[in-house]
Symmetry: C2
Subunit: 113 residues, 2 copies
Amino acid sequence: MRIGELSKKASISRDTIRLYEKHQLIVNVTRPNEWNNYKDYPEENLKRLLVIKCLKKFGFTLKECREVLLEMEQNPNKDDHKRKVAKSKLAEIDKQIKDLIKVKNTLIKILEE
Amino acid sequence: MRIGELSKKASISRDTIRLYEKHQLIVNVTRPNEWNNYKDYPEENLKRLLVIKCLKKFGFTLKECREVLLEMEQNPNKDDHKRKVAKSKLAEIDKQIKDLIKVKNTLIKILEE
DNA sequence: ATAGACCGTGGACTATAGTCAACGGTCAAG
DNA sequence: CTTGACCGTTGACTATAGTCCACGGTCTAT
């Protein structure tokens, strides 16, 4: 898939995708043709972009997004250590959810005052 | 309370507090003494800083934080319109929680693969 | 073959958030 | 009255994230 298609499907600008690529959030990019230097972005990058979009809503930096994506890549191989890392990230997300619920409850209390 | 005390209590640097003040996230600051120009930061600002710290974890910008704080200020007066605004913010937070739960579930699935 | 849509690269530019250093003033302990 | 810990202001500086533009090359339909 070329960048234009990827951009449309993910609703993320070409420039931003290229920025992400620069920061290694987009991977396995090739230039399959000898006669031009157009890049090919494998399908997996669409999934990656959607994950990034989701994570960014919660203030994840690009660096943090890259780490999460790296864990996602590495996890399927069942390496125990890596699984632990992913689990601790999960615990973090759980904590974030709990904190957010606290914010929510604070807002509710204020509304009920 | 002076900025040093506020800084220690909130664990936020003086510089950052002054930045927040500039952006009107810190309010009702006075200079109670004629003989110096030291500022006094009322107690309420400590609460504000803790709210800001919490909101920032979820990627709220300073502008968004200011809006939430404004709603918190305005809400106790039971104005229906303002209550609606606060409620829509609540809905937003609810959505964020749901999205975060999705991220969590995605991570869990990956872990289970 | 040419117009319009696409592509890659590089650099400039913006906004946001925060830090840092320098300056001079204030305060309290000794 | 001096020293060290504060205080306020200003402006420079950094990092992050994203946008925009100009350049020249490529592709496709006409």
